[in-house]
């Protein structure tokens, strides 16, 4: 009898792990994939989990929405970075798990999700006409199903340092600067002039890194890496336009104008506080970049925005909200995504946080176009970006391999410009290897 008791003690200890497994089993709630009612009942208590990343500026909007819809509770599952969000979403897809009711996705990895559009609900009910064609196209699969509701966008302008321009004997007026930088050839010619000026001689550069410029130039191509009809990788072909961009950017003439600071690195972030030495005069500037500049160097009062992008208007970045189709509350989630991307809300976010809208109606909204930015010398940033937005005609084709190719290309530029571990030809060879390994 005693022995049995002891034995059961031992058993208890030995299998406590299993017991824990068993009891915990019943309490779990994640990963449920049962699709209940598909209509949003206004009285039904609903908890919606939404995963964004970086800063979507939704905090106040969540509160507002919950006030408007007392039955809805919004859980803010923000991820720190786009990479984390991408890993989370793709883990969910690859294991067939639904962890969020709404997930945000960056345009750079949207193509990977579009390839798995059956994982997501059709948001056609929101109406693709809310966005310009190029934006809606980024979230539409081959069968015409809209899976993403556009949030922000990144129409590009040029940010520039008035003090450095002045030192270099260049004009400092926004429109005059814009007139000076109409094409990439003009941009680099002005850069050469700048480098030979007192400003350049005192250690200022023309731009931060060629990798940063590449982003802008690649976004102006029709099909930088892949063939739009077949999806085949074309970036290594003989007449590849991306290679032409690469050759231009890695030429000695252009490299001399670089500050050799890789974008987003710690030294880059810190260098914004430099006065002349180690500083740079121009920065490719989507609206979200203005926030970064202002945040990195709050005391630097000389930045301004010129309404131009060399080589023609383009867009850099922007995100979407997607609703996994097997979520518990697809309709309620769709309603929320619809509301969050509504022009009225997009305008509010821009005014409060500076994330530029992607809904056409929001970009012409009076509160948007009226916005000025004291940090940028009182520049009418609302008006400038609204015009830049209207001028965007198309966006490059992004296929399933866009993200890794773009990443590898960025590394190729870094090797030449920042790390200086390779010359242009060697670095391109390594890029070729990287790309070939993708298939």
């Amino acid at each position: 009898m005693r022995k049995t008791t002891r034995k059961s003690w031992a058993v208890a200890a030995g299998v406590a792990g299993i017991a824990l497994l068993a009891t915990a089993c019943s309490s779990g709630n994640g990963g449920g994939s049962s699709s209940e009612t598909k209509t949003a009942n206004p009285d039904e208590k609903v908890t919606l989990k939404i995963q964004t990343f970086n800063e979507f500026g939704y905090k106040d909007l969540y509160t507002e929405y919950m006030k408007l819809h007392p039955n809805v509770t919004i859980v803010d599952d923000k991820a720190d970075k786009s990479d984390t969000a991408r890993a989370n979403v793709e883990t969910a897809i690859s294991t067939g798990t639904v962890t969020e009711d709404i997930v945000a996705a960056d345009v750079d990895w949207m193509p990977e999700l579009i390839d798995h559009s059956d994982f997501f609900a059709d948001l056609g009910s929101i109406g693709a006409s809310r966005w310009p064609d190029w934006k809606a196209k980024q979230a539409t699969d081959s069968s015409g199903k809209l899976i993403g509701a556009g949030t922000d966008s990144g129409p590009e302008a040029i940010c520039y340092r008035k003090d450095l321009f002045q030192k270099a004997g260049l004009p400092t007026d926004r429109d005059k600067v814009a007139a000076l930088l109409g094409s990439w050839d003009e941009y680099f010619a002005t850069g050469e002039q700048f480098m030979n000026s007192p400003a350049g001689k005192a250690g200022a550069a023309w731009f931060d890194s060629i990798g940063a410029l590449s982003q802008g130039m690649i976004n102006q191509l029709e099909a930088p890496f892949e063939d739009p009809s077949s999806g085949k990788i074309t970036v290594l072909d003989a007449n590849s336009p991306a290679k032409a961009v690469y050759d231009q950017l890695t030429s000695d003439k252009v490299l001399k104008q670089s500050a050799h600071l890789g974008q987003w690195t710690d030294p880059w972030t810190k260098a914004f506080t430099n006065d002349t030495k180690g500083a740079w005069a121009t920065q490719l500037c989507p609206p979200w970049m203005t926030q970064i500049i202002a945040g990195n160097a709050p005391d630097q009062k000389n930045w301004d925005v010129a309404p131009v992008l060399p080589g023609g208007a383009s867009n850099w970045g922007g995100s979407f909200l997607l609703v996994p189709k097997d979520g518990k509350h697809v309709q309620a989630a769709t309603d929320l995504a619809n509301w969050l991307t509504d022009p009225a809300q997009q305008a509010k976010v821009f005014v409060q946080y500076g994330n530029f809208p992607s809904a056409v109606a929001a970009t012409t909204d009076a509160t948007v176009t009226a916005k000025t930015d004291t940090y940028f010398g009182g520049a009418p940033t609302g008006k400038i970006f609204s015009d830049r937005f209207a001028a965007v005609a198309h966006q490059p084709f992004r296929g399933a391999h866009y993200f890794p190719i773009n990443d590898a290309l960025g590394k190729a530029y870094t090797r030449v410009d920042v790390d200086k571990t390779d010359n242009a030809a060697n670095s391109w060879q390594k890029f070729e290897t990287d790309v070939k390994n993708l298939s």
Binding site: G31, N88, A294
Partner: protein, 302 residues
């Protein structure tokens, strides 16, 4: 040498007694106090240990602007520490995340200590078929790269419906190969057979022997294992960041959100680092004295 030598005691009374004698000697023996050079060396070690922490504190009491301007901050903190702390509290559910971390770390360390001691006792002192190969197997499992397991482990968690719950983080860490290896290693030498045999002769069951003899004997190593596991669990980032969503995350995952801005505010991020260290430091200061005393009280792995 009037007292019998330690080996002699060992011959007569077994290792436990020998150890006790050795310890007694250690205390009584009163070997010479080391000279000042030793203290200078130790002080240097502590400066190296503490400066990075102090540096973190300096950054957290500064602004990102000043950090960028002065690579080497002055040793006197600037006055922005509490502003930055407040901003951390505004952007992160600090208390919720801390609570989650406490739950995870406590359950994990208690469980690891208990199960590892149990297994270590069996591996070190009990005879059973397949013991050698099984122990090797346990150690070999630590060689499995964790990155490899992410997708399949996520699948397991999905099927258990544990995604985004604390169990998903707790359960995989309930007993670790490291712990088993550690306790086996320790009990091998620290637990004399005589004690086990004595208990068995008295009619104690295996489990009672474990509970009354092995567990107390294992205390020093168990304390260390408990601390290591607690810290390990507290600082764990990779797997929790994958399986937990930020609304009920552990502390490191929640604090990573401080980087979720377009521009990186180092003073804010460093304030988060300081906040994540403080709870452990407090625990360490409260428990540390006893811990160090406990560790040194018993011998570990002679």
């Amino acid at each position: 040498m009037s007292a019998p030598s330690v080996p002699a005691i060992e011959q007569m009374a077994g290792k436990g007694a020998a150890r006790a004698a050795a310890r007694k000697r250690h205390i009584e023996g009163g070997s010479r106090r080391p000279g000042w050079i030793t203290y200078v060396l130790l002080a240097a070690v502590l400066v190296v240990s503490f400066y990075p922490l102090y540096y973190t504190f300096l950054l957290s009491s500064s602004t990102s602007q000043n950090i960028a301007r002065h690579p080497i901050p002055s040793l006197i903190p600037e006055g922005h520490f509490f502003d930055n702390i407040k901003r951390v509290f505004d952007s992160v559910d600090f208390w919720g995340a801390t609570w989650n971390s406490v739950v995870v770390a406590t359950i994990t360390s208690v469980s690891v200590v208990l199960f590892s001691t149990l297994a270590g006792f069996a591996f070190a002192k009990l005879r059973f078929r397949g013991r050698g190969p099984l122990l090797i197997f346990v150690i070999a499992t630590t060689a499995v790269p964790t990155q490899l397991g992410v997708i399949p482990l996520f699948l397991v968690m999905k099927n258990l419906h544990w995604i985004d719950t604390l169990q998903a983080v707790i359960v995989p860490g309930l007993v670790t190969a490291f712990g088993v290896f550690w306790m086996t290693q320790y009990l091998e030498s620290a637990l004399p057979y005589e004690l086990i045999e004595a208990a068995r002769v008295d009619g104690a069951s295996m489990f009672r022997t474990f509970w009354n003899i092995a567990l107390p004997a294992a205390r020093p190593a168990a304390t260390m294992l408990g601390l290591f596991t607690f810290v390990q669990s507290w600082t764990n980032f990779f797997w929790p960041s994958i399986v937990l969503r930020s609304s009920h995350a552990t502390l490191p995952v929640a604090l990573s959100l401080l980087q979720a801005t377009y521009f990186k505010d180092l003073s804010l991020i460093m304030a988060g680092v300081v906040l994540s260290i403080i709870p452990l430091l407090v625990l360490f200061i409260i428990a540390g004295r006893q811990l160090v005393a406990g560790i040194m009280g018993g011998a570990v792995m002679g």
